[in-house]
């Protein structure tokens, strides 16, 4: 399997901006993550081949960053910030609520493969705590009722084949 045309197009679109080829590694990994929902060893090998980097180098980078997932994830990455300001404003309750509603533990994926629940560190939205993310989108000042609603909405969007948590994205445009 080789790198998809889409990823190649993104990389070639920004190649001229950087003085080294290795600088394109993280953008390539992020794109692979976006395309597959996680970064597999095959993805890493393909990226390494394309950017002329040894597999070990690609792996050591891929394993460093928390946004790059090295195992399959749910279609919706539900991230709840549990750091200090969100914690002070009830993030614990949101985590418990999501666990109850989705029947998953932390870092778990629902049986239908739709949701992965993650507790994350500071999202830089402390003034509107508690903050959560659904895929690419922030939701702030969230309470349990709203969280349940967001999960329901995401479920119905998934069932209807609609994108979830990508409200600011323009397909085919980087970033």
């Amino acid at each position: 399997m080789a790198l998809s045309e889409r990823i190649k197009k993104t990389i070639e679109g920004i190649r001229h901006q950087f003085p080294t080829e290795q600088a394109l590694l993280i953008p390539a990994l992020l794109e692979a993550q976006d395309e597959h929902g996680w970064v597999s060893l095959d993805n890493m090998r393909d990226i390494g081949d394309y950017l002329h980097l040894p597999l070990a180098k690609v792996r050591e980078v891929a394993s460093f960053y928390t946004m790059l997932k090295l195992a399959p994830q749910g279609k919706v990455d539900l991230q709840i910030c549990t750091n200090i300001s969100c914690w002070l404003n009830g993030a614990d309750k949101l985590v418990a609520c999501a666990q109850r509603k989705l029947h998953v533990s932390n870092n778990g994926t629902t049986a239908d493969g739709n949701f992965t629940l993650t507790q994350v560190e500071c999202l830089a939205a402390c003034g509107t705590a508690p903050a959560i993310m659904l895929n690419e989108d922030y939701y702030e000042n969230v309470d349990e009722a709203q969280l349940e609603k967001l999960i329901d909405q995401a479920s119905s969007d998934l069932a209807g084949g609609r994108p979830v948590g990508k409200s600011t994205r323009t397909e085919g445009v980087w970033p």
Partner: protein, 446 residues
């Protein structure tokens, strides 16, 4: 409120509540947008550096290093071994992630052109033709807004070739991080920008000599750049006057936690912590117990210490730091050991693992705090925490280890009775532990 400062006026946020304040049109029409750029480009680069030096602008990322001085460290005419000129790079640190800090996100979403203009001026000042904006990966919307702002600036000729007909060329490039707090440390950020693990570099050489891609580089925070257009437009004196003797201008203070009106406030530095809490509507849900004045890494202050002023020097004198301007307020319902554990879990997760003192120390501290919360702590633990911290601070490649010891040490020193009570009572159970969420760390057996 006049903030008892006749010189004060908002530098960065005068219009952030207005519709379309993030657009180029608004910036040009209502905020003298890109006028400072024209003025700066007509000045000698050294004069621009001098202006910023005299303004007493200090780095807003956390360390508070004088910005003009940092710019002056950039070599004038660096050459490769073969005599060809080396490029110089300017880097904007937009990897905001210090718990309690959310000011840069406001600039990105409400006044991105101010930062862009500041970067172009800085580029002129250090004779660089290229800037990178390193943005934390979670900011999808913010990254796209910034890219749009950059595209608009190119379209109007504020970026690109021959800017405003002066012959100066400048390009701005966005780079997305992928989730790592440590990449806010400038040399870790540079490694990440080069497509490597975000591990801080041993210094020297400093970035001004060997920075991004091995070239002389200067890294500044978003807010630092955003202050530059004002300084050029209104002059260093006006900016310097707003601040204290050794630190000019205003600061963006993010107030969060148990506070009635959380948010980002642009304030002069002659206010006390108590003043700021009052401005932000007062403590929510109880009386004040403690604050963290400058982002999670700043040592805590007790309520009785909150008369302290919030400039860099006063906070340093009080044994803490102004840091990134994140003021976290905690009321009397909070268990300080539990709050500190929340922070220590974060540090344990974010240590890059390069230095053993930090890798092991942040892990041990988190486990010891957990053990105390769970009822397995001993009096000896409290002394041992101090000992571990002593072996971490100042012993590592970067300041992360020092940052871990900020909350760990200050909480034990200032709220020792809460820890002793937990040790005697056998843990938090029964004295108001919040919702039973699993704080269990996989495989942790101390």
């Amino acid at each position: 409120m006049m903030y008892n400062n006749e010189h004060y006026e908002p530098v960065i946020t005068p219009n952030v509540d207005k519709t379309d304040c993030h657009t180029l049109d608004f910036y040009i029409q209502h905020e003298d947008g890109y006028k400072a750029l024209a003025k700066a480009l007509a000045m000698n680069p050294d004069a621009v550096v001098d202006e910023v030096k005299k303004s007493n602008l200090r780095g807003r990322g956390g360390a508070g290093f004088p910005t003009g001085m940092k710019w002056s460290f950039m070599p004038k005419d660096p050459k490769n071994a073969d005599g060809t000129p080396k490029p110089k790079y300017l880097v904007c640190n937009a990897d905001e992630g210090e718990p309690g800090t959310f000011k840069d996100r406001l600039i990105f979403t409400k006044t991105p052109h101010r930062m862009i203009e500041g970067m172009i001026i800085a580029g002129h000042a250090i004779a660089s033709n290229k800037g990178f904006i390193y943005i934390r990966g979670e900011w999808f919307k913010e990254t796209r807004l910034m890219q749009k702002a950059i595209d608009d600036a190119y379209a109007k000729g504020f970026l690109g070739k021959n800017i405003l007909g002066t012959g100066f060329n400048y390009d701005l490039v966005i780079y997305k991080g992928a989730g790592a707090y440590i990449c806010g440390e400038e040399t870790a950020l540079l490694n990440s920008l080069e497509g490597k693990r975000g591990e801080p570099r041993l210094k020297p050489p400093f970035p001004a000599m060997v920075g991004a891609f091995g070239m002389p580089s200067c890294v500044n925070n978003v807010e630092t750049f955003a202050a530059v257009p004002y300084i050029i437009n209104k002059g260093w004196e006006k900016y310097a006057k707003m601040g204290t003797e050794r630190s000019g201008g205003t600061r963006l203070i993010g107030v969060s936690g148990h506070i009635n009106k959380p948010g980002v406030y642009e304030l002069p530095m002659n206010l006390s912590i108590n003043d700021i809490i009052e401005i932000a509507g007062g403590v929510k849900g109880g009386t004040l117990k403690a604050v963290i004045p400058g982002g999670a890494s700043a040592p805590m202050l007790k309520a009785s210490e909150c008369g302290c002023l919030t400039d860099y020097d006063s906070l340093a004198k009080a044994g803490t730091m102004a840091g990134s301007g994140g003021l976290i307020v905690m009321n009397d319902t909070v268990s300080i050991p539990e709050a500190t554990y929340t922070l220590l879990k974060f540090y344990e997760h974010e240590s890059c693992g390069q230095c053993s003192q930090c890798r092991e120390g942040s892990h041990w501290l988190a486990r010891m705090f957990k053990r105390i919360l769970d009822g397995g702590g001993t009096q000896d633990d409290l002394d041992y925490i101090a000992k571990i911290c002593g072996n971490m601070a100042g012993q590592t490649i970067c300041a992360f280890a020092d940052a871990v010891t900020g909350p760990a040490l200050s909480s034990v020193r200032k709220f020792r009775h809460e820890f002793e009570e937990l040790i005697l009572k056998g843990g938090l159970t029964g004295i108001g532990r919040q919702e039973a969420v699993s704080h269990k760390m996989e495989g942790a057996h101390v």
